[in-house]
């Protein structure tokens, strides 16, 4: 899994509470990504980072924010969790400059918002 860990692996929270998911990588990869996986939708990109303090929005960024203060860590924050954000969240990294390079994925975080 290219040295990618995610924490927590499981979380149950209540509507309206803030939640932060952490992705940690040991590969010194430049690019990092947050996806959510939902049945029938595959993986959809939430946010990505192309370097420390450099981030951009993905396809489904509303209600999420990210931060990257160090190369190895990429945090995803749900400002005020809603039931529609119940999902499995995956972090990924990419070592090169995109294009032909391969993304590698973490083990995922299962988030349930009650």
């Amino acid at each position: 899994d290219a040295g990618i860990t995610q924490s927590p692996r499981h979380k149950v929270t209540e509507t309206g509470t803030p939640v932060t998911l952490r992705c940690h990588q040991t590969e010194n990869h430049r690019y990092m990504y947050w996806y959510r996986q939902d049945p029938g939708h595959g993986l959809r990109l939430i946010h990505y980072s192309y370097g420390v303090k450099d981030t951009d929005k993905g396809e489904v960024s509303d209600g999420y924010s990210v931060s990257r203060s160090k190369t190895e860590d990429f945090l995803l924050t749900l400002e005020s969790a809603t039931s529609s954000q119940t999902s499995v969240y995956f972090c990924a990294t990419l070592g090169g400059l995109g294009g032909t390079d391969t993304q590698y994925f973490g083990p995922g975080t299962r988030l349930t918002v009650l």
Partner: protein, 112 residues
């Protein structure tokens, strides 16, 4: 914008038979195409990719995929399926830039 379609939600095959998981794509330029596999409660694992060159790409665990530009397809194949191949398979495409789009996934079940 690029996109991929996996027309089958579910594929069932008998062990020892050949398997095919279908993928079609849409991009404005040259496609970079990928296949990933996901086992239960795990992240996605890279299987293979097509960048350029030979249309038949060989990957991990005996899988291969055939790039067909005229049909805009990138079907995943294996000559002889194993029960352990049962998993969720995702096709993905990357166009210009780094944005990768995934298909909805196909669940492969190989029965003994």
């Amino acid at each position: 914008a690029q996109s991929v379609a996996q027309p089958e939600d579910q594929v069932n095959v008998a062990e020892g038979n050949p398997l095919t998981v279908k993928c079609t794509y849409s991009v404005s330029g040259n496609p970079y195409l990928f296949w990933y596999v996901q086992y239960p409660n795990r992240g996605l694992q890279f299987l293979l990719k097509y960048i350029t060159g030979d249309n038949l790409v060989k990957g991990s665990y005996g899988f291969e995929a055939e790039f067909n530009k005229s049909q805009t397809s990138f079907h995943l194949k294996k000559p002889s399926a194993l029960v352990s191949d049962s998993a969720l398979y995702f096709c993905a495409v990357r166009d210009i830039g780094n944005d990768m789009r995934f298909g909805a996934g196909t669940r492969l079940t190989v029965k003994p």
